[in-house]
Subunit: 180 residues, 3 copies
Amino acid sequence: MIIVMGLPGAGKSTVMKGVSADVKMLNYGTLMFEIAKEKFGISNRDKIRKLPVGQQKEVQAAVAEKLSSESGKVVLDTHCSIKTSKGYFPGLPFELLSKLDVEALVLITAKPEEVFARRQNDPTRDRKDDVKLEDVQEHDDMNRALLAAYAAHRGCPAKIIYNAQGKMEEASAQLQAILE
Amino acid sequence: MIIVMGLPGAGKSTVMKGVSADVKMLNYGTLMFEIAKEKFGISNRDKIRKLPVGQQKEVQAAVAEKLSSESGKVVLDTHCSIKTSKGYFPGLPFELLSKLDVEALVLITAKPEEVFARRQNDPTRDRKDDVKLEDVQEHDDMNRALLAAYAAHRGCPAKIIYNAQGKMEEASAQLQAILE
Amino acid sequence: MIIVMGLPGAGKSTVMKGVSADVKMLNYGTLMFEIAKEKFGISNRDKIRKLPVGQQKEVQAAVAEKLSSESGKVVLDTHCSIKTSKGYFPGLPFELLSKLDVEALVLITAKPEEVFARRQNDPTRDRKDDVKLEDVQEHDDMNRALLAAYAAHRGCPAKIIYNAQGKMEEASAQLQAILE
């Protein structure tokens, strides 16, 4: 399994769409939601985080089991960290990571200035002024440090791919080289 | 338990004093000293580090046990890392961290330039020229990377609070929001 | 055991040569190769990475066992991370690190601008233009984050030594102070 993470606004989804490798793409959030809905009847993704910690861990373990049962090359699309008012939640806590058979970790990012500008210009975002440039920088720094911790834990390689403005094909090509 | 750490000179103690939440504040160094004094008769804090490693671990385990027995919301005040001539000692090695029930990690920091200036102006410091601005930057970078590793290990959120010059109330308010 | 790592081009080997402490210096890559040659008949170092993962882990475990049997002070010379097209491979994955009795971790580095210039001027390097200044910066950042994760895992100090241009004696003296 290859795990692909990204900084919000860095263009992870578009970079992933540019990849033509014969791989199965799975989204961690979607898997969590499907299992949480089935087990605990929640109605939307935001409610996963409101489940008691024990139930969240049960869902997490079920997702890990489902992922382990996949054959062939699988790409898992998830967050490196989720920014909340309580701080950054790590997307791959060691307890989860130790249940997965990880071949490589990939972080898709971009220059904070570019991410900041993209977020400002995104018509789907309501509040354009809720994040400052230095907040984007802090999130990117935290993601890189988390990436290193995940890699040290698993002993697998960690790749940083820059999705530079106007060079998405290059970013997709780098990702494809890892998936092949 | 919520663990609050800080860069020396960032003003952790003053930010913590500005919090009015109904929490029990405990200092890790004080707990270590009390137990080390009782068990091994040491006379001051600096001697903890000179105990044989086995005895240090015994003290650390006793502190972890004491902390686990606390009921209600507890704030543990400790170092993210301690800077020594041998390097940065992590304040929360995984062996300790895995014994604690951590809800959130908080790092109180400030711009290296501000921390540097505060240290220069601190009349209680003897040697004002022993640290350069780039040393403060290095310590802050190391603390952030350690914070990420601790968060990945525990699967809990990690919050960075800036205690900007003249804005201590804002920093205290952010801390209070996490403690509530 | 003290583990010394370095950014390629930062001058780790020369800094280590300037140390006169009475220690046994061992190179992790050499130990890996010797054991892999004996067990699996490989003919050069580059082939270690091409062994099946199970055999690589067998070699790694044998090296860890050999290192544990050493008496007296030992310095282990290894990589903090190895940069490949698949990403950064951590030099001290937790699985290996947990088998070693580590007293201190040392990372020898230098300003990215200086490392970049040294690489450009190195007549033994074939491709001088394959790395940009920002790649050196990224590798250095990743190494520091990995260093923090290793230190958090072991609970041992992590020291960063700068080998500044024209000040190698100072860097060697800092390393010697840790080895004594």
